[in-house]
């Protein structure tokens, strides 16, 4: 029964199940007893508008939180209530899709039909991956016939009906009878094709309205969305020519195993995989173990990862096979059920022959070293005392490929994630009737023989496009633990077997394959070969083979004694240098090694330090003085108590609500609460010196907005609309940074922000009503802040303590960069009125104060951000010298001198 109201409040819902779409329920006001449901203009179409409301009676209506209430009028877009993880998301399907991004993998795994429902109406061009998920889910749980019936009757037929109804609605064709819609059929015309059969009555109606072409276009759009093909079929029935549309989908049966493998392929024990984790590094890496979004062509489905210790699934949207991860071997019962067992362990965790613990295993046993951050794995480069620990394993996985500049995976993947990828990739590629496993099994070594090494690479389409070397694919297998150039005679001698294979990406068409290569190698590093390839990759002209052919000068033995892996080195000479040379190594060099080498005229650089190597290879760049490398193994420096709280990071975007100027101004006019208005700040996302124009945005903390809604209806509306788009966090993610950003500097201090990871330091002053994004750090104080942070001493410290990432820009951190820096005595940390600490010039050093005044007059007050701080000479150079003098260093101290002194000062200050 339709009712007269044309505007109601979406204020409740009835859940069908505890997940997915619920029935939205409407009321005239939040406290109304009468409930209604909305009627969609088009049956089942979440993109349609609301046609009307009807009364609804149910004891099961649940109220939405008031901030989620939305006013809906007839003619407005349909709004959904979507349940997941105990939360109710309100909005259009597109808004909900954005709001649930973080849980999509989980929904895909547990409720793929529901996710597909949402995806179909979320303004997406392609949902073929979700169709694939849902079909696989049904087939795995209920069999092929049910999956096929669902796809025909539930998915495709309903989508065809919605599109036909849209055409009818938009063409103003008179209402079509319900039985006509029921008579629309999709009929299997072969194993992989469906014919759309329209009842004559509907066909004629569409013809008369001139809409057949439109229908065809709509169905073509649907075919693209679902990743199915479309064709026209012509037939003749009782003398009448008929034309119908045929939708086809690829056969989704697994490809048969390769013929070449079928004769002697190892028996697949359901291709189950276990990963046993041992040690701190191994645990850190295992956290990132994810099911791959591909499957080898010899397996008929993907994997999901299960943590047996946490009793939960960790993800894997495509699979039904399992990768079980545990720290406890006894969880794997029976261990003989696993096709592949990987032992992921720290170097120091192995004391006895660990393979003995796996003596009941019947599948392949793989050892995966949890690669240390600062040096190679001893097991990979044969540096263990007796090499006994890993005997008994079938193979050792070269996890150090994750550190290689020739890494063939996503370049934006973080280091530990890369290692986890390597481990899981190797395990999956060894499961089932695998050619890789076949090769390993063929070469099963005797117990007293060294365990060989397995290196694998997936050659994704964009890999190697930028490469200058035709041997790039082979380079994808290169690492610090093996070698680089497959063409060399030596490497061929160390290669025990090569294998080519294909994988199929699960998120694309079923026949979209990617090639992969693998090699079983002797465990014998040829670091010179690898390091030379790295140099050639950085600068092919300057690092030509002739460089290698010139014998590098003999490295002094006392320098080698300071290295942990002295055999893994490659020395070459630099022409402008009178003596010594550059020693490329596999480890992060210690300060002691650097100092020893410097005395002998040598510079030690880790091969991962591409920035330093690139500069070294530029002609004449370091004619006078060798640089300080970036990748250094520092002694364990401590956080200094006096620096605590001096620096805060910019705000976490999840803790605030952002508004553009237009929305903010519109709201401000109706806002009644001055208190809330005072909480709004301008949002700084860039420095003026970046030269980028920034559109004006305002932010307000979620907690303040939520608190204000009780007294201010305008705030409630603002929050309600926002809550429809994104879910408000239960508690701020970083409350202390939020507080720091919203606080006002006390005692006449000024506020400065420092850009993360940029050297020379980029620093600027901000206004009191501004709060910075999280790519900045906040410090309060006087002109001492830019003076000290812009100094050479701080630059050296910041560069050496930078947290380096394979995936993203290097970063400073509050605890690692700022709280460890020993602030010299000429500055002081003040806490006006017991508030947060600030950096000020000390009273005693009159010269410093004088220079700061000069500095301020010349730069700070005159748009100094328009100048390049790094190039400032006077008075910056003078300030620099005062700061160095405070550390008992002269103005001509080297960067290594500075770093050593700062480390000493840190250790002294931390007691």
């Amino acid at each position: 029964m339709e009712v007269g109201s044309d505007k109601l409040l979406l204020a409740g819902y009835v859940a069908l199940t505890e997940h997915g779409f619920a029935l939205p329920c409407f009321a005239s006001s939040p406290k109304s007893n009468a409930w209604h449901t909305a009627i969609s203009l088009i049956e089942g179409d979440h993109c349609a508008s609301v046609r009307g409301f009807e009364l609804f009676e149910s004891d099961e209506i649940r109220a939405l939180p008031q901030e989620s209430h939305c006013s809906v009028s007839i003619g407005d877009p349909w709004l959904d209530v979507f349940l997941w993880g105990g939360a109710a998301y309100v909005g259009t399907p597109e808004e909900i899709w954005k709001a649930i991004q973080i849980t999509i993998d989980e929904i895909s795994r547990k409720a793929p039909l529901t996710l597909l429902d949402l995806a179909l109406f979320s303004n997406r061009d392609f949902v073929g991956d979700h169709v694939c998920d849902a079909t696989n889910f049904l087939r795995n749980h209920y069999g092929h016939a049910k999956a096929a019936a669902w796809r025909r009757d539930m998915l495709v037929r309903h989508q065809v009906l919605i599109r036909l109804r849209r055409v009818v609605a938009e063409s103003q064709i008179p209402e079509v009878a319900a039985r006509t819609w029921s008579a629309v059929e999709l009929v299997d015309c072969s194993d992989d094709a469906l014919e759309i059969r329209l009842p004559n009555e509907l066909r004629q109606t569409l013809d008369q309205a001139g809409q057949q072409g439109r229908v065809t276009r709509e169905i073509e759009g649907l075919a693209r969305l679902l990743n199915i093909s479309i064709a026209e079929s012509r037939s003749e029935s009782r003398g009448v020519k008929q034309q119908s549309l045929v939708l086809g989908y690829d056969a989704d049966q697994a490809d048969p195993p390769h013929d070449s493998l079928s004769n002697d392929a190892p028996l697949a024990r359901d291709a189950r995989i276990a990963v046993i984790v041992s040690g701190r590094r191994a645990r850190a890496i295992a956290r990132y173990a994810m099911a791959p979004e591909w499957t080898p062509v010899w397996l008929d489905g993907g994997y999901q990862v299960r943590s047996l210790d946490e009793k939960r699934e960790k993800g894997g949207r495509y699979g039904w096979r399992t990768i079980d991860i545990t720290e406890n071997l006894s969880e794997l019962t029976p261990i003989s059920a696993y096709d592949v067992i990987v032992y992921l362990a720290d170097d120091d965790e192995i004391e006895g022959p660990v393979a003995d613990r796996l003596n009941e295993a019947q599948g392949l046993t793989l050892f995966a070293p949890a690669l240390p951050v600062d040096e190679p794995s001893k097991h990979l480069v044969n540096y263990t005392d007796n090499g006994f620990g890993i005997h008994g394993f079938d193979i050792i996985i070269d996890t150090s490929i994750a550190r290689s500049p020739f890494w063939s995976g996503s370049p934006r993947r973080a280091f530990d994630r890369r290692i986890a990828d390597v481990v899981i990739e190797a395990a999956v590629l060894c499961a089932g009737a695998s050619p890789v496993a076949h090769q390993i099994a063929k070469r099963r070594h005797r117990f007293d023989e060294p365990v060989p090494l397995l290196t694998l690479a997936l050659l994704r389409p964009n890999y190697g496009l930028e490469a200058r070397d035709a041997f790039r694919p082979a380079l994808a297998l290169a690492s610090e633990s093996t070698w680089a150039f497959a063409r060399s005679l030596r490497s061929r001698a160390g290669s025990l077997a090569t294998v080519d294979f294909d994988i199929r990406m699960l998120d694309r068409g079923l026949h979209d394959t990617v090639p992969g290569i693998g090699e079983i190698r002797d465990r014998q590093p040829h670091f010179e070969d690898f390091a030379h390839a790295v140099l050639q990759d950085i600068n092919p002209e300057r690092a030509s083979p002739s460089l290698l052919n010139k014998p590098s000068r003999t490295v002094p033995p006392d320098v080698l004694r300071e290295l942990r892996f002295p055999d893994l080195r490659f020395g070459f000479s630099l022409r402008p240098l009178k003596r010594g040379g550059v020693l490329v190594v596999s480890e992060a060099p210690s300060l002691k090694a650097l100092r020893r080498a410097e005395k002998r005229g040598w510079l030690i650089v880790r091969y991962t330090d591409r920035e330093t190597l690139r500069d070294l290879l530029l002609p004449g760049k370091y004619a006078e003085q060798l640089p300080l490398p970036s990748d250094i193994l520092l002694p364990k420096v401590r956080r200094l108590q006096q620096n605590r709280g001096l620096v805060a990071r910019g705000i976490d975007p999840r803790d605030v609500v952002r508004f553009d100027q237009k929305r903010f101004e519109a709201w401000r006019i109706e806002a009644k609460q001055l208190h809330l208005l005072n909480k709004f700040r301008r949002y700084r996302t860039s420095l003026k010196s970046d030269g980028r124009s920034q559109s004006l945005e305002y932010v307000v903390p979620w907690p303040d907005l939520k608190a204000a809604r009780k007294d201010d209806p305008a705030a409630g509306r603002l929050l309600g609309r926002q809550a429809g788009i994104m879910r408000s966090p239960d508690a701020p993610k970083r409350p202390s940074d939020l507080r720091a950003a919203w606080s006002e500097p006390l005692g006449g201090a000024r506020r400065f922000i420092v850009k993360d990871g940029v050297i020379p330091i980029s620093i600027e002053e901000i206004d009191k009503d501004e709060v910075p994004a999280q790519r900045f750090f906040i410090l309060d104080g006087d002109a001492s802040v830019p003076a000290l942070l812009g100094s050479r001493a701080f630059s050296v410290w910041a560069r050496s303590t930078l947290s380096r990432s394979t995936s993203w820009m290097s970063r400073f951190s509050v605890s690692g960069t700022f709280e460890t820096f020993p602030i010299p005595d000429c500055f002081e940390i003040r806490r006006p009125n017991g508030g947060p600490p600030q950096l000020w010039a000390g009273d005693t050093n009159k010269r410093l104060r004088g220079l700061l005044e000069e500095f301020e007059l010349e730069y700070l007050n005159l748009g100094w951000w328009q100048k390049d701080v790094g190039k400032l000479r006077s008075p910056y150079r003078k300030l620099d010298n005062i700061i160095l003098a405070a550390f008992d260093l002269s103005g001509d101290a080297t960067d290594l001198d500075i770093l050593e002194r700062l480390v000493q000062s840190n250790l002294a200050a931390s007691g």
């Binding site: 009835v14 997940h19 049956e43 009676e57 039909l113 539930m154 029921s182």
Partner: protein, 270 residues
């Protein structure tokens, strides 16, 4: 529709019964809301409940028709309209019938058919004989064949030879026109043959098919696998329909009817 109070009913429709080749026993359909259905599956039986019309514990079915829609006259849309769950029961699951009516007595009692119903004919007058053959006889006479019955299309010549004074028969035909498939808002209950029994029906071996929302196939926050396992344990086949919040009760009914008819065809009832 009024009830008789102590007077003898004039059961004219019983005399019109004409099976005309309709199978003597037909599958029965019970529709309820999904929340209740879960309890039914848990208890492993369809249970009788107190009927406010006949004031005794009864269990209701419709012969072959998943009819449940409540519309004008009911004033409001209810849970079952929005979240239907269908049980299809084998013909021989119930031998002794309490009563058989040619339409939904609950709707009739609440006045859903008032506009069409003859105000001078009482509810009890429409009662058919309380056995399976009466179902076949009513379908044969009123609809001619099963497919027409399922579509709600009464024979066009059904009133030929029916005298003016046979008001019960004519009253029934007037009501039944509400359910014709040509109508844009057909009320399937107006011609769905209602069967009531006064005993519980075990699910095992009796319920042959359930039709449920597709969301029950997924294991999300609440595990549905136990529920699906229970169905499997009772030997019950299932089909799903596409539950969407913006699908109207009419549309659900059309969809469920389509699925049920496909099952009847597969199992040679049609």
């Amino acid at each position: 529709m009024k009830r008789r109070e102590g007077t003898v009913a004039d059961k004219q429709l019983q005399l019109r019964a004409r099976p005309d080749g309709i199978p003597s026993k037909l599958p029965l359909v019970h529709v309820t809301a999904v929340g209740i259905a879960k309890e039914i599956v848990k208890s492993r039986k369809l249970e009788t409940r107190k009927c406010p019309v006949f004031e005794r514990k009864l269990l209701y079915f419709f012969a072959m028709r998943p009819a449940y829609r409540l519309k004008e006259g009911d004033a409001k849309s209810h849970q079952v309209n929005r979240f239907p769950f269908v049980f299809i029961v084998a013909p021989n699951a119930v031998d002794e019938l309490y009563h058989v009516y040619p339409f939904d007595t609950g709707g009739a009692f609440r006045g859903v058919f008032s506009e069409q119903a003859d105000p001078y004919v009482f509810l009890e007058d429409y009662e058919l004989a309380p056995d399976h053959s009466a179902i076949a006889g009513q379908i044969g006479w009123a609809f001619g064949n099963l497919r027409a019955y399922l579509d709600g299309n009464i024979r066009s010549d059904v009133l030929d030879g029916v005298p003016r004074h046979e008001t019960v028969t004519r009253g029934f035909v007037d009501i039944t026109r509400l359910a014709r498939s040509g109508s844009n808002q057909p009320d399937q209950r107006a011609s769905a043959i209602e069967v009531a029994v006064n005993r519980d029906v075990e699910l095992k071996d009796n319920v042959k098919l359930v039709i449920l929302p597709k969301q029950y196939l997924e294991d999300a926050s609440v595990s549905n696998s136990n529920f699906m396992d229970q169905l499997r344990a009772e030997g019950i086949a299932w089909e799903v329909y596409d539950w969407q919040p913006n699908t109207t009760p009419n549309e659900f009914q059309n969809e469920i009817t389509r699925i049920a008819q496909a099952w009847f065809e597969t199992n040679k009832y049609l």
